[in-house]
Amino acid sequence: MSNVQQETFDIIAKQAKIELDTIKPESTLKDLGIASLDAIEVIFDIEEHFNINLPNEDTDFDGGTVGQLVEAIERQLALKTSE
């Protein structure tokens, strides 16, 4: 597991108060019981932790998986390094 994935899963587990090993790359936030403002808060915590901005397109809470979220974070981190 990459560091980004590990750190992202830690943030999700903490916010959703769930065990770390219940989070799989193919889970959606909805599957994990994280909806509405809780999901928005998870994204905010991730943005603060990595100091990135995640566009709304990368935050599909219903259909998007946690794995896709990690990819979006990695994209934003790569953009930041290249700047």
């Binding site: 909806a35 509405s36 403002l37 928005i40 994204i43 905010f44 901005n53 566009p55 709304n56 935050t59």
Partner: protein, 404 residues
């Protein structure tokens, strides 16, 4: 039960500075949405768009001494209230003064004043504030200013329920009249909160559309904020007839409910409960309704939820309803929303023109009703409802009927 009628209407928003201009723009399908001009919005992720009031010169309405007391929030409310009072021809002499209420729905407060002061405090390290900050910012300022301007001494206060504030205010006024506490009310809503701080706060909730507001349409990306005020004079039918006033329509009923669920995510059950209650209160069968001015914010969640609620309340008649959201025109004006939308609803009743839902691209399977896309439609409307569903799970619906 005392019947209540609307005899005056005033409005100011991105579409115009009086009710006839606002209504005309609604029938023409004009959008007031554009890039924010009041402050540098280039850093906003959400695109920095809103439905701002443009070319408003407060000195046309207020002298300098008075203006010092007025945040734009109160300026807009006073402009709309003056128009409504003038149209109704009502005067508040004698007993009428204490037998009239002033109720103004406000979702936020005098934000331009507040942020201006905080900017001085935190950025410029000012140690002295302008002394009129409090009286400009306070949420009840518009209600107080209207009572002062017109010499109205009856029950006067603000009603706050975020985006449902206007409709809750109208419901409160109607209940006061029915209870016999007052015979008339100056009622509506006001909002002026297009500030960088508030825009940032909305942006972080991920509900602002970067492109535009397209309710019920596939491809909708969220809401676009607006501002302004609409105010009405409402009174008993008896009072209006005794004065020989022109009656715009009947305020037939209101319905209110709370979701008691999520603080932000809407509930079809709560929305349907408020609509059903408004119909029952108005003594109207679902089939009697021809037009629904929807809450229709343009968020994915609101519009599909509201559609489900409409299906549950109206059954097979849902497909026969003309439904539109006028928010792509005047923006989501929060506490002023329901009042501005009632201008459109009354216009539909009086002129037989249904204002359109602008910026509609193509159907979303989750929104399968007739939303009067993009172009206004001629249709005789005998009765209509106007929906407002707020963050906090608070819902308020107003039902109106054509007179004669």
């Amino acid at each position: 039960m005392r019947r209540i009628v609307i005899t005056g209407m005033g409005a100011i928003c991105a579409l115009g500075h009086d009710a006839p201009s606002v209504w005309k723009a609604m029938t023409e399908g004009v959008s007031g949405i554009g890039p924010l001009t009041r402050f540098d919005a280039s850093a906003l992720r959400s695109g920095g768009i809103a439905a701002e009031i443009k070319q408003f010169d407060p000195s046309r309405y207020f002298d300098e001494a008075r203006l010092a007391f007025l945040d734009p929030l109160s300026q807009y409310a006073l402009v709309a209230a003056r128009e409504a009072v003038e149209q109704s021809g009502i005067s508040f002499d004698g007993e009428r003064a204490s037998r009239t209420a002033v109720l103004v729905g406000v979702g936020v407060a005098g934000e331009e004043t507040r942020e201006g002061l905080y900017k001085r405090l935190y950025e410029e390290r000012a140690t002295r504030f302008h002394p009129l900050g409090i009286v400009r910012i306070m949420t009840n300022a518009p209600a107080s200013q209207i009572s002062m301007a017109h010499g109205i001494t009856g029950p006067t206060f603000a009603v706050a329920s975020a985006c449902a504030s206007s409709n809750h205010a109208i419901a409160q006024a109607a209940l006061m009249i029915r209870a016999g506490l007052v015979d008339a009310a100056v009622v509506g809503g006001a909002e002026a909160s297009l500030t960088l701080g508030l825009m940032r706060a909305w942006e972080s909730m991920r509900v602002l559309a970067p492109d535009t507001c397209r309710p019920f349409s596939a491809g909708r990306k969220g809401l676009v904020l607006g501002e302004g005020s609409a105010m009405f004079v409402i009174e008993t039918l008896e009072s209006a007839q005794a004065r020989g006033a022109t009656i715009l329509c009947e305020l037939a009923g209101t319905g209110m409910s709370a979701d008691a669920g999520d603080i932000a995510a809407p509930s079809a059950v709560g929305a349907a409960a408020a609509m059903s209650m408004a119909l029952r209160d108005a003594g109207l069968a679902p089939e009697a309704i021809g037009y629904v001015n929807a809450h229709g914010t343009g968020t994915v969640a609101n519009d599909s939820t509201e559609t489900r609620a409409l299906h549950s309340v109206f059954g097979t008649h849902a497909k026969a309803l003309a439904i539109s959201s006028t928010k792509p025109m005047h923006g989501h004006a929060l506490g002023a929303g329901g009042a501005l939308e009632l201008v459109g609803t009354i216009g539909a009743l009086r002129d037989g023109i249904v204002p359109p839902t602008l910026h509609y691209l193509e159907p979303d399977p989750a929104c399968d009703l007739d939303y009067v896309p993009n172009v206004a439609r001629e249709k005789k409307i005998d009765a209509a409802i106007s929906n407002s569903f707020a963050f906090g799970g608070l819902n308020a619906v107003v039902a109106v009927k054509r007179m004669g």
